[in-house]
Amino acid sequence: MLEVYTSIANTGLFPYAWLMVVIPAAVAGLLLICGKVTNSFGHFIATLAPIASFTFAVIYFVELLGYPEMERAVNLDFYTWIAAGSWQIDIGMLIDPLSILFVLLITGVGSIIHIYSIGYMAHDPNRRRFFAYLNLFIAAMLILVLANNYLVLFIGWEGVGLASYLLISFWQERPSAAAAGKKAFVMNRVGDLGLLMAAFTMLAMFSSTSFADVHAGAPSLSVGWATFIGFMLLLAACGKSAQVPLQAWLLDAMEGPTPVSALIHAATMVTAGVYLVVRAGVIFEQAPAAQLAVAIVGTVTLLVGAWIGCSKDDIKKVLAGSTMSQIGYMMLAAGIGPAGYAFAIFHLLTHGFFKANMFLGAGSVMHGMNDDVNMRHYGALRKLMPITFITFGIGYLAIIGFPFFAGFYSKDHIIEAAFHAQPALGVLALIGAGVTAFYMTRLMIMTFTSSSRWRKEVHPHESPAVMWIPLVLLAIGSLIGGMVLNGWIGSWLSSIGAETPEHMTWLPEITVIGGITFAVVVLGAVLAWLVFGRKPVPDEAPEKVSIFTTIGRNDLFGDAVNDYLVVKPASLLSRGVALTDEKGIDPATEGTGWLVQAIGDKVRLIQNGYVRTYGLTLAIGVVLIGLALVLSRLV
C-alpha cells in the first residue's frame, strides 16, 4: 500500500506548522542564552511552549478529520537543504495521520509533564536549565516525527539523543548520572550508524530520502537491498528504543530526573524506533527477513524486559524494564506487518498514557520519601498518598490489561495478531502478559500495600496539586484511552498502510485468545500476591535468591555482554594501536612532562632518536605505497 500525499493543499494554517517546532526551540535558546535573568519565570514560558504546540496540533488534527480517509496528508517543503549532484535533501514536514498522532502525544503528555516538573523541580538550583533542555527535547522530537524525509528525521533523531544525554546527566554531581548519560549517547551512536547507512543506501537507490520517493520506489526494490535497508533501520530502532541487543542504556538512564524518565524514556523518545519501523513499513514488506527480525527482536525484548522488571527493587528500574517490555510488544506488532501497524501505534499511545502516569506516580512517591527509590523502604503508602495510589492503580490496571482499561485493548490486539501471524510468537507474547501482571503486582504490593518499612526521618505525604493534577489527567487517559481509540484507530491509520478489521468498537470482541490472555494475567497477579503479599517484605534484598533473580538483577548481564563483545575488544584495539604509535613511534604524551624540565644534551639525544623513528615510519610508508603500486600493476 502506498501513502497518499499532497491531497490537501498547503493552505490555511498548515504553512505555519513549523511554529510547532520553532516555539519550543526558541524558548530553549532564550532560557540558555539569557541565563539567570530568566530564572524566576523561565519555567512558565517553557511550560507554555509545548502547550502552544499542542494547540496547533489539535487544530491540524481537527482539520485532517474533515477530509476523506485517503486524502489526509499535507506535505510542506521549506527549502533545499543539501543538493549533492542528483541527491537532493529538502527541509520539509509531513502532517499525516501517523505524524499528527505522535505530535498530539508528544505535546500533550509533554505539556502535562512540564506542569508536573514545575512542582517536582521547584527546589532544584538548575531548574531553568532543566526546562530549557526539556523544550529542546520537545523541539527535536517534533522534528523527528514531522520530518518528511529520512535525513531530516535524522536531525531530530540526533537532537533527541543529545537532549536525552543532557537530561540523563542532569544531576552531574552524581558520577553515576554522568556515566549513564555517556553510555546512552555511545550506545545510541550504534543506532545512528544504522539510520545513516539506511539513508545513504536510499539515496543511492532513489536519489532521495523523502518518504514519498522512497515509499513509491520501494515495491520495485530488490529484496537484497530492501533487506539491507531493513536491517539497518532495525539497528537504528534497537538503539533508540532500547531493544535487545542495545537495551542496556535504558536502565542506567533512570539516573535522570523522574519527569525525564516519564517523558523521554517512557512515553516518547524510546518509541521513536517503533515510529521508524511503521513509517518504513513499505520497505519492510519488501524484505520478509528484516520484518521477521523486527518481530523476533520485539518478542525477545518483551520477555527480557519483563524478566528484569521482576527482580529489581528500584521502582524506576522496574518501570524501565517494563518500558522495554512494552516497546517489545510494539515492535512485535510492527514486525507482523500491515495487520499490526495500527496496533503498534495504538499500544504506543496507550502506553504513553499509562507509563507516563506511573513514572510520574513513582516520582510523586519518591517526592514523599526523600528521593528514596528502593521499594523495600516503601510500603503502606496507599493511605498517606491516596491520589497517587488511585492514579497509579489505574495505570497498573491499564498495563496488565485489565478489561476496559487502556492497555487491555491494545495489548490483546497485539497478542491476537501475533497468534495469527506466527503462533510461537503469540505464545511468548502471552507469557509476557502474565509476567507483566506478576511484576506490576509485586510493585503495587511493595509500594502501596504491605506494612510500612520507611527509613527514619521519612514522613510520606501527598504531593502538591501541581503534581497530582497531571497524575489525574494521565490516569483519565489510562482509563478511557483504549475505549475511545479502539473503534477508530484502525481506519484512521489505514492511509499509512495499516490493515485492520473493520468492525472494532469500544466493546471488545470476546475471543478464545482474549479469554486465555485474561486468565494468564489473573494467574500472574495472583501468583505475585501468593509470593509477596502474604508475608512481610524483607527490608534488605535477600542474598540467597534463585538463579533467575540473580540474572534479572544483573539486567541479564547486558553490561557484561557489551563489555566482552564491544568495550573490551575496542579498548584493547585502541590501546594496541596507541601503543605502536605512542610507545614505539610517538612517545611524546608520556614524555612531555619531564621533557619540559629536562635541559641539555640528554634531551636532544633522545629527541634525535625519535625523529629517526619518525623518519623510519615515513620510509616504511613509502615502501608500502610503492609495493601497493607495483602489486596493483601485477594483479
Partner: protein
C-alpha cells in the same frame, strides 16, 4: 627540436591577490626593520590584515564581476605555463587567505596573555637562559610572525595554482620554511616548541626530498615538468610505466605528508602540541587546504589518466587515516593532541571524496556530487570549527599559562558557559552532528565518493565518523560532567580580547550558518570546481 619561445600572457589583475600577499609580506619585513619598536606590532597587524583583506577583495570582486556571481571556468583563467588560475584555484585562494586572515587576527590577541602575545619575545635566546627572562621582563613583543605567515600563505597560493611540477615544489617549500620557524616560536614551554619545530623541519625536509625524487621520476617519464606534457605522455605513449609509478608514489607521499595522512602523520601530534596554539590553528586548516589543493590538481589533471592505479591505494590510505586517527585520539590525555589526531581523522575524510571522483579532469559529472566541490566545502566547514576550537584552547589557563592537559579541563564548562557552549558547537561540527557545517561537509564528501563508485569507502567512512564522535563527546564529558580533583589548582578561562571575540563570532556564524543553509555555498563551489586542463 627547440620549442618556440612563447611570451607568457600575464593578467596582473588575476595574479593580483597572490602578488598583494607576497608584497604585504615584504612590507612586513621592512616594517620590522624600520618602524620603531613601540608601534611595530600594530603596524604589522594592520599591514597583514590589509594585505589579506585586499587580496580577498580582488578575488571576490572578480568573482562577482561577470554578473552571475560565479566563475566562468573558460573565461576567468590565465595559463602562463607554470601557474594556472581557474575556479578551484580561486576558491582555494579564498579559503587560504580567508582562514589565514582569521588566524592572523588570532595572532594579535594580547589580552589573554596579559599584554604579551602567544609568541616568544626572543626567538634566538636559549630557553631558560638569562637573556630570555630579561626579554620577558622587559615586555618585549616580537612581530615577525605576521610576515612569516604571509610568506607561508603566498607559498600555499602558489601550491594550489601550480601547473608545473617545479612550481608545485616551490610552493611546497615556500609554505613550509616559514612554518618551521613559526612552530618554534611559542612563548611558554619553549623546549617543546623548539623540539616540535626541529622535528617538523627534519621530517619536512625528508618529505621534500622524497617529493623531489618523485618529480625527477616524472620528469624522466615525460621529459617535462609541465602537467600538459604529463597528460599527453600518459594518453599517447606506452612503456616507461616504472618511472610513472615511482613518480606517483613518491610525489604522493610528499603531499600526503603535508596533509597529515597515515602513515605519514607522525609529526602531526608533536607539532600541533608544540606549536603556539594560534599557529596550530593556522596550520590545521591553511596548510591542509593548500596541500589538498595541490594534490587535487596534480592527481586529477596531470595524473587523471592513471587513476585506476592510484585510486585504490589512496582509498586504503583514507581508511587507515580515518581509523588510526580516531582510535588513537580516544586515548589522548592532552587536548591539543586530541585535536591533532582529530585533524588526522579529518584528513582521512577529505581523502574519501578525493578518491571517489568519477571523472578526473574536473571531478564533475552532470547530476553528480562533485568531489572537488565537496572537498572545498569540507575544508571550509572544518576550518571554522578548527580555528574556533583552537582559539578557545588558548583561553584555558592556569597561573597565566595555557593548560592543555585534559584532566585539568574538568569542569571548565561551568567557568564561562557561553564560551564553553561555543566550544561544544565547534566540537559537534567536527563530529558531524546535523545542523552544523560539519554534518553537511561529511554528507557531501560521502555522497561524492558514493556517486563516484566508491560506495564501500563511503560506508566505511560513515562507520569511522561514528567512532570519531566519541573523541569529541569525551572532551565535552570532561568539560561539563566531570568534577575537578580536590585540591587541584584553579583552572581559569581567560576573558577573550577583541581579537579572539572576532575569531569566535566568525567561526560560530560560519559553523551554524553553513549547517542550516549550506545550499548557496555548495552551489557556488559546484560551479567553481572545474579544473582547467590546458592543451589537451
Amino acid at each position: 627540436m627547440t620549442p618556440d619561445f612563447i611570451t607568457p600572457v600575464l593578467d596582473y589583475l588575476l595574479l593580483a591577490p597572490f602578488l598583494i600577499v607576497l608584497g604585504a609580506a615584504c612590507v612586513g619585513i621592512l616594517v620590522e626593520a624600520f618602524v620603531p619598536r613601540g608601534g611595530r606590532f600594530y603596524t604589522q597587524v594592520v599591514v597583514s590584515v590589509l594585505g589579506l583583506v585586499s587580496a580577498l577583495g580582488v578575488i571576490l570582486w572578480r568573482w562577482g564581476s561577470d554578473g552571475q556571481g560565479l566563475i566562468d571556468p573558460w573565461k576567468d583563467n590565465i595559463v602562463t605555463g607554470t601557474l594556472i588560475i581557474d575556479g578551484p584555484a580561486q576558491v582555494f585562494w579564498t579559503i587560504i587567505f580567508g582562514f589565514g586572515l582569521i588566524a592572523v587576527i588570532s595572532f594579535a590577541e594580547r589580552r589573554v596573555h596579559a599584554g604579551a602575545t602567544a609568541f616568544t619575545p626572543t626567538a634566538a635566546a636559549i630557553p631558560g637562559s638569562k637573556a630570555e627572562s630579561e626579554a620577558a621582563q622587559a615586555g618585549l613583543i616580537h612581530s615577525e610572525i605576521f610576515p612569516l605567515a604571509l610568506f607561508s600563505m603566498a607559498g600555499m597560493a602558489m601550491l594550489v595554482s601550480a601547473n608545473d611540477l617545479l612550481m608545485l615544489f616551490l610552493g611546497l617549500e615556500i609554505l613550509s620554511l616559514p612554518l618551521y620557524v613559526m612552530v618554534g616560536m611559542s612563548r611558554h614551554r619553549r623546549l617543546v616548541s623548539q623540539e616540535a619545530a626541529l622535528k617538523y623541519f627534519l621530517l619536512g625536509a625528508a618529505a621534500s626530498a622524497i617529493f623531489l625524487f618523485g618529480v625527477a621520476f616524472l620528469f624522466g617519464y615525460s621529459g617535462s615538468f609541465a602537467y600538459d606534457r604529463l597528460v599527453e605522455t600518459i594518453t599517447f605513449t606506452s612503456g616507461g610505466e616504472g618511472l610513472l609509478l615511482g613518480g606517483i608514489g613518491l610525489i604522493g607521499v610528499g603531499l600526503l605528508f603535508k596533509i597529515g595522512a597515515v602513515p605519514f602523520h607522525s609529526w602531526v601530534p608533536d607539532v600541533y602540541q608544540g606549536a603556539p596554539t594560534p599557529v596550530t590553528a593556522f596550520m590545521s586548516i591553511c596548510t591542509k587546504a593548500a596541500a589538498v589543493g595541490g594534490f587535487l590538481r596534480l592527481f586529477y589533471v596531470a595524473l587523471g589518466g592513471f587513476r585506476w592505479t592510484w585510486q585504490p591505494i589512496f582509498a586504503g590510505v583514507a581508511i587507515l587515516t580515518i581509523f588510526v586517527g580516531a582510535i588513537i585520539a580516544i586515548n589522548q590525555k592532552d587536548i591539543k593532541r586530541v585535536l591533532a589526531y582529530s585533524a588526522i581523522t579529518h584528513a582521512g575524510f577529505i581523502l574519501v571524496p578525493l578518491v571517489g571522483a568519477s571523472t578526473m579532469d574536473t571531478g564533475l559529472i552532470d547530476g553528480q556530487a562533485g568531489s572537488v566541490a565537496s572537498i572545498m566545502f569540507y575544508l571550509v566547514a572544518y576550518g571554522f570549527a578548527a580555528i574556533g576550537a583552537f582559539s578557545i584552547v588558548s583561553l584555558v589557563r592556569k597561573q597565566g599559562h595555557e593548560i592543555t592537559d585534559l584532566s585539568a579541563w574538568a569542569g571548565v564548562g561551568k567557568r564561562n558557559p557561553f564560551v564553553s557552549v561555543l566550544f561544544v558547537i565547534f566540537l559537534l561540527s567536527m563530529a558531524g552532528i546535523p545542523l552544523t557545517a560539519g554534518f553537511v561537509g561529511k554528507f557531501a564528501a560521502f555522497a561524492a565518493a558514493w556517486q563516484g563508485g566508491f560506495a564501500w569507502l563511503a560506508l566505511a567512512a560513515i562507520l569511522g565518523a561514528i567512532i570519531a564522535v566519541y573523541i569529541y563527546i569525551r572532551v565535552i564529558q570532561v568539560m561539563f560532567f566531570t568534577e575537578p580533583d580536590e585540591g587541584a589548582d584553579e583552572v581559569e578561562l581567560a576573558v577573550p580580547g577583541v581579537a579572539t571575540w572576532i575569531v569566535l563570532t566568525v567561526c560560530m556564524l560560519g559553523t551554524i550558518g553553513l549547517g542550516l543553509v549550506p545550499g548557496p555555498l555548495l552551489e557556488l563551489l559546484q560551479n567553481a570546481s572545474a579544473f582547467i586542463i590546458p592543451a589537451k
